[in-house]
């Protein structure tokens, strides 16, 4: 990154047109998603999630780790037996016996994972770079004999020496790997660094690249997009961004960002997003935050005076896509940040017409109430407040 001239280097290259047919989703909810500390899916849940992912249109499902055996193996076998439209991939260490387990499960694709950073090679594997390349050769060669689609995962690619990472990619390509997964294992990339590193691999080695990003600094989506702009063709996503630590690139955010920011429509059935998110949330025991991008329940809920009264006149003022696109609803709630216009609109919705003077006074009362209750008001509370206000003004008027 040092001294790189961003204006000239990036402005030209990021202008490259992205083609929907060149971008594929490999969803890892069932593998990295389940690997999240505290998350365990039941086998029935895994099968259901796989069916939903297929229906929504993902290209590949990373179904699990066959070599874990037991239940895990049963689930993967059950998923391959579904004969879904999408490819089913099993995760492996760069070990032949792992690949045998994958073959036994009937998957059509394998990810063969091994660290490429010196820090991992030295402190985790306690081996050498040469040993890593040998393991890649042996395991890819073995998998290719069984006609499997092979992704070689460069774990901790972001902290890997670039020269060695290129050697790693070249070795993978030479022994017939179909793609290399670039794993930002610790989530330490930023989009510019991502762009540069991925672009370098694509240009020099010319192997298909898959982006596996983590959200430790909140940049998983931006880095996935940067990878795609640099020429990567696969993205490893999870529903709700489930995944180890701060999670992975969220499927729904990535698809919508591509569609609405980059004008690339992957043809996913976005209407199913909310349902899919809710199912995975329930199965993983991890709620969907109300403010979660794309599928949070609060996204199309408006309270503050100016924003709310403007958006109901023309949703395009504050929305790039509508709630119906992702299975949500647009709602108006009344609370501390609301005012005359929003209150008038709300009461009209509830069947009451209010004049401007009344709306002004009533909105003051409602603001106080909201502050006292520390929340927005329920519809019934708004109606009650309105009625008692009307009663008050009537009795005052009567005197």
């Amino acid at each position: 990154m040092k001294g790189l001239n961003l204006l000239t280097d990036f402005s030209k290259k990021t202008g490259t047109k992205l083609e929907p047919k060149n971008i594929k989703i490999d969803d890892t909810t069932l593998r990295d998603g389940e690997q999240t500390a505290g998350v365990v899916f039941a086998n029935d849940e895994k099968i259901h999630i796989a069916k939903m992912l297929d229906k929504v249109g993902v290209h590949q499902i990373e179904a699990g780790i066959p070599t874990m055996g037991g239940d895990e193996k049963d689930a993967i076998k059950a998923i391959t037996a579904l004969n879904l439209n999408c490819s089913i991939l099993g995760w492996n260490r760069a070990v032949v016996s792992d690949i045998d387990d994958s073959i036994e499960c009937g998957v059509d694709a394998v990810a063969i994972s091994i660290s490429s950073s010196d820090i991992h090679i030295e402190h985790k594997l306690r081996k050498s770079r040469e040993w890593v390349l040998d393991s890649v050769r042996t395991s890819v060669d073995y998998a290719k004999k069984y006609n499997l689609y092979v992704s070689v995962n460069a774990e901790d690619a972001s902290r890997s020496d670039m020269e060695f990472l290129l050697q790693f990619a070249r070795t993978a390509k030479e022994v017939g790997a179909d793609r290399m997964r670039y794993c930002d294992t610790l989530g330490i990339l930023d989009p510019f660094e991502t762009f540069m590193r991925v672009r370098t691999i694509v240009e020099i080695i010319g192997i298909d690249i898959e982006m596996h990003t983590h959200n430790d600094f909140g940049m998983a989506i931006a880095n996935a997009i940067a990878g795609i702009k640099a020429g990567a063709t696969y993205v490893n996503t999870t529903i709700n961004g489930l995944g180890e630590r701060a999670g992975n690139a969220s499927f729904e955010e990535f698809v919508m960002a591509l569609k609405y920011l980059e004008n690339v429509d992957l043809g996913m059935d976005t209407h199913l997003f909310k349902e899919l998110s809710e199912y995975v949330a329930a199965a993983s025991g991890r709620f969907i935050p109300a403010w979660k991008p794309v599928v949070g329940s609060n996204l199309f809920v408006y309270e503050s005076e100016i924003r709310a009264s403007t958006v109901f006149k023309n949703p395009a003022t504050f929305e790039l896509f509508g709630p119906q696109d992702v299975g949500l609803e647009r709602k108006l709630i009344i609370g501390k940040s609301s005012g005359v216009n929003t209150l008038t609109l709300k009461l009209k919705d509830l069947g009451y017409i209010i004049n401007e003077k009344d709306a002004f006074e009533l909105s003051e009362i409602i603001r106080d109430k909201s502050l006292a209750l520390k929340r927005a008001l329920f519809d019934s509370e708004i109606v009650d407040t309105y009625k008692s206000y009307k009663g008050d003004t009537k009795s005052k008027g009567g005197k």
Binding site: M68, H120, G218, I225, A226, R245, A246
Partner: protein
């Protein structure tokens, strides 16, 4: 223009937890809470804080007055739309710095105000002159700037500069930007006008933090953030993510006391009734929890294998979780903590039992449950000879 941020003299943070954060649908902070949040932000070294919108009404004004009276080190701001009459409300609160907001996109000018560009510029002039009359410092904020005709946006910026604004705020109101587009936009603006610019991001596509950092690379000097990223819709750039990303990705240390991050996040989460997801970047309790065999083993050998910074730095602790994906190293380590030294055969056997229990329960095991597993194991061992489970 280069990518380096390290040489930057100063990057400002202006926190909007209590203004746009509170504007999140359903969120209301009490006076007590706002006073506390101000104190916490001030203590850890946030330079500027937005504390509210005086035109909302008397109660809001009272709260603002009380916060102003606490005289924090941080510079305090209130927020208003560009209507001259709003200035009196700010003055009434004893505030010295304000943000004057105006929508600059044609769509907003037409739908939100029902007016045209000429009206918007005039509105800004009149509000500014009122603010200057009252001796207020002001930031001019361009709402929906990222869907604004660039020529008109520059016109607004020139006006702000000419009339003595303190800074100019570019709002990505509908999250129209990605980091590359952010970089191009901010670079273009700064190549045309030399003026301090800050960027205000929304997180509709999960890119608020990345866009914020991209704008700094392009030369912006200030970012608008909120604790936990709380804000309207999907929220804003999260304060804790920005500070840590600057420190560990860009090597820029803002000198903010990060050890209180978890505490502040928890406080804002409680006050806003919005729980911190366990997987929240930087402050989620799961960020330093390791379950899978490979990761836990890697962390035990050297935390740097899977962690960029120490959990204590943000007020968290590291946890090893025993569950379906655990490996025998985690078991060995866990029991060592309990004061029990296992052989690797014993660890493998306990691992198989723990995994089975975890799958059955659909969750990882509590330490207590691990001890139950151990007891069962000892009984089993006593009652029958056993065959060691295979090592994977």
């Amino acid at each position: 223009m280069t990518a380096e941020l390290k040489d930057k003299k100063f990057i400002n943070i202006i926190d909007t937890t209590m203004r746009n954060g509170e504007q999140a649908a359903g969120v209301v902070f009490s006076k007590h809470e706002k006073l506390r949040i101000t104190k916490l932000l001030d203590e850890i070294g946030v330079p500027e804080i937005e504390i509210g919108t005086p035109s909302i009404g008397e109660i809001e004004k009272d709260i603002i007055r009380e916060i102003v009276a606490t005289k924090p080190k941080a510079k305090l701001f209130t927020y208003c739309e560009a209507f001259p009459e709003n200035i009196a409300h700010a003055v009434d609160c004893g505030i010295k710095n304000i943000i004057i907001n105006i929508s600059t996109s044609d769509l907003h000018i037409k739908v939100k105000y029902g007016k045209n560009r000429t009206w918007a510029l005039n509105q800004l002039r009149e509000t500014i002159s009122e603010a200057k009359h009252s001796d207020l410092d002001f930031i001019i904020s361009a709402e929906d700037a990222t869907r604004t005709d660039l020529e008109f946006l520059l016109k607004v910026l020139y006006l702000a500069q000419k009339r003595g604004a303190y800074r100019f705020r570019i709002c990505d109101t509908v999250s129209r930007l990605d980091p590359f587009r952010t970089f191009m936009l901010i670079s273009t603006i700064l190549n045309t006008v030399d003026f301090p610019v800050e960027v205000y991001n929304h997180n509709d596509f999960g890119m608020a933090s990345a866009n914020a950092l991209a704008s700094l690379r392009a030369g912006a000097v200030s970012l608008v953030t909120s604790i936990n990223g709380i804000g309207e819709g999907t929220g804003n750039a999260a304060f804790e993510e920005i500070v840590m990303a600057l420190k560990y990705i860009e090597e820029v240390d803002l000198g903010i006391d990060t050890s209180k991050f978890r505490e502040i996040s928890e406080y804002v989460a409680k006050a806003s009734a919005r729980a911190i997801p366990v997987w929240k970047a930087i402050v989620g309790t799961n960020v330093f929890a390791h379950e899978s065999g490979i990761h836990a083993d890697g962390v035990l050998k050297n935390p740097r294998n899977y962690e960029v910074f120490e959990p204590g730095e943000v007020g968290l602790t590291r946890q090893l979780v025993v569950g379906k994906h655990s490996g025998s190293h985690t078991i060995l380590h866990k029991f060592k903590e309990f004061g029990i030294d296992l052989t690797s055969n014993e660890a493998n056997e306990l691992l198989a039992m723990s995994r089975a229990m975890s799958v059955d329960l659909k969750r990882p095991l509590f330490d207590k449950e691990l001890m139950y597993v151990y007891k069962d194991f000892l009984e089993k061992k006593k009652s029958a000879k056993h065959v060691a489970a295979p090592d994977d």
